[in-house]
């Protein structure tokens, strides 16, 4: 099994924009990449996680301005169905060059949609930049609420930032208090569909990124295909990112590989378990 997928290069990077970094999750890679691509006309707009109706609930939006892209900074740790506005971004917003960010499963959905564009007439050839984010599992909004409000004892209205790292789930409040619980307690609230996922680092994206492997405030970035490489190199040349060789940072790719292996091995076992779930009866396996 190829745990990290195909990639051309891997680096540690962070945005050079203080404005982006002020509210970004880690290195501000996705936000800066889209801002640069929008400015350069590489994309006409990007599908990102905007603010939904409830506190900390994301809503997929088609961002066509820098302000809208900036409004989507940071990880929300609950589901944002970005693929759901793909058709809208072309038909209603009239985008010819669409940027999209998504979890590994959303990148899988995107590539499947490009090969089997059922019901997406004249849409899938307009994908100009697909950025994937590392993902171990995701939570429904209600699960996230349960974790933050019930376990961490933090009201979602006063939550400033959440993070998963060092084996813990962290909740930071607006007034500076920090609440943390062992990540183990959150496992039962995970989205069930995540338990059969065989991708940790968004293998099918043009560029994929996440915090794991790089020091605090930096992100690990995989540049995966020609399109990704082309855009990434231009952005680095334009001074959008500062980069370090991934070999020079701790903990580096070793940790990424370890976590990817753990996730995929665990989920392959889950698929085997599902195959023999009942008495001479199994559950459906989506991978054929």
């Amino acid at each position: 099994m190829d745990y990290l997928g195909k990639y051309k290069t891997a680096v540690a990077a962070r945005s050079t924009s203080a404005e982006v970094l002020r509210c970004s999750q880690d290195g501000g890679i996705v936000t800066s990449m889209f801002l640069y691509a929008l400015e350069e006309g590489i994309i006409d707009g990007a599908i990102v996680a905007g603010q939904g109706e409830n506190p900390w609930q994301p809503k997929p939006i088609v961002a066509t301005s820098a302000e809208e892209i900036l409004s989507a900074r940071g990880t929300r740790y609950n589901i944002c169905p970005n693929m759901s506005v793909l058709k809208k971004s072309v038909r209603q917003y009239g985008l010819d060059k669409v940027g999209i960010v998504g979890t590994p499963c959303q990148m899988q959905a995107l590539r499947k949609a490009q090969l089997y564009p059922v019901g997406l007439r004249d849409v899938t050839d307009k994908i100009a930049l697909a950025i994937g984010i590392f993902c171990m599992e995701n939570f429904s909004y209600q699960s996230m609420k349960q974790i933050v409000e019930d376990h961490c004892n933090v009201d979602l209205h006063s939550l400033n930032k959440t993070d998963i790292g060092k084996g813990k789930y962290w909740a930071y409040t607006n007034r500076g208090a920090v609440s943390q619980i062992p990540l183990k307690l959150t496992h039962k609230y995970e989205q069930p569909g995540c338990h059969v996922c065989l991708d940790y680092v968004a293998n099918l994206a043009d560029i994929s990124t996440g915090s794991v492997g790089s020091p605090d405030g930096w992100s690990t970035v995989f540049i995966r295909n020609n399109n990704g490489e082309n855009i990434w190199n231009k952005a680095v040349a334009a001074g959008v990112f500062e980069t370090k060789p991934i070999e020079s940072v701790k903990p580096g790719l070793e940790l990424v590989t370890k976590l990817a292996t753990e996730k995929i091995t665990k989920n392959q076992k889950e698929l085997e378990h599902r195959a023999k779930f009942g008495v001479n009866k199994g559950l459906r396996n989506p991978y054929i």
Partner: protein, 299 residues
């Protein structure tokens, strides 16, 4: 060119060299045609059952793409609307649009004949595959009010490939056409790729044909994906629905069943309905191959 074989040569030069004098391009076109390995083309027919012709419009909706397909890969040997042939001939691939009206003797006869004459039968679009909007028919319409029973073609004959959706996406039809060509006429490597690509659509067909009633609807997203603990809340089903019956609420699809027309697009699009790493990991190769096939001149 699409209006039967006799007229084939006329529109082609128009699309290629509109400004050039008429006599020259025709001559050029003729020499080209002789060089072409025409024998390698597959034969395709469009069989019209009870459908609205929207699927046929989708077939033509790739603009010059249709010309490329007909020039290089397929001869349209039967198509009541576009080709001058009155009887179903032998053919490699039959694209069937529409469901079968059980009270219409000719429809029943023709769908059976299609199965006999075609090596590969493709259910083109929601009606042929799953019944789609014709599932709601209860008869009583002028001027054949007794026409009330409509079934997907899989209820009457075995079907090899499904292309769900209403209307089916032109790029999806194009991809299937190119893959069908590679499967029938390509080298070993291309055949393997085409087979891997078509397998999920063949599985949809065999599941559909086997079922007592091969219905598809938003319910499939519920029963085969969410109820099975497989949904990841990506929203692809919602984007694929032609009637906007699916909205995402709290990260999961919410399906307005009264709006659903039963076209099967949402389930076919869902990455957790079927997902082949063998195929999708090669997305760049496949997209390049299809673009290359559709642009043989390389411009």
């Amino acid at each position: 060119m699409i209006f039967g074989k006799k007229e084939k040569k006329e529109p082609a030069p128009k699309s290629q060299a509109p400004k050039a004098p008429v006599s020259e391009p025709i001559a050029k076109e003729e020499t080209k045609k002789e060089e072409r390995p025409v024998a390698n083309k597959i034969t395709v027919g469009h069989v019209h059952m009870s459908g609205c012709t929207g699927c046929l419009v989708s077939l033509a909706d790739t603009y010059e793409g249709l010309f490329t397909i007909l020039d290089n890969y397929a001869d349209l040997v039967y198509c009541l609307t576009l080709a001058d042939a009155r009887h179903i001939p032998k053919m490699d691939v039959a694209l069937v649009e529409g469901s079968v009206c059980l009270q219409d003797e000719l429809s029943v006869e023709e769908i059976k004949e299609t199965r006999e004459k075609a090596a590969v039968v493709v259910a083109l679009g929601g009606c042929a595959a799953y019944g789609n909007i014709t599932r709601f028919c209860r008869g009583g319409q002028w001027n054949q009010p007794q026409h009330e029973g409509f079934v997907p073609i899989g209820d009457v004959i075995d079907v090899d490939v499904y292309i769900p959706g209403c209307a089916p996406c032109p790029q999806q039809i194009r991809n299937v056409c190119v893959m069908a060509y590679l499967l029938l006429k390509g080298n070993a490597e291309q055949q393997a790729l085409a087979k891997a690509y078509l397998t999920p659509l063949m599985t949809l067909a065999s599941e559909g044909s086997k079922a007592v009633s091969s219905e598809a609807c938003g319910c499939d997203i519920m029963t085969k994906v969410i109820n099975q603990g497989l949904c990841i809340g990506c929203g692809t089903c919602s984007a694929s629905c032609p009637v906007y019956a699916i909205t995402m609420q709290y990260g999961k699809p919410n399906i307005e069943r009264d709006m659903c027309i039963k076209c099967g697009a949402c389930y076919a699009a869902c990455p957790r309905a079927f997902f082949s790493f063998d195929v999708v990991n090669q997305y760049e190769t496949i997209i390049d191959a299809i673009n290359g096939a559709m642009n043989p001149g390389g411009n």
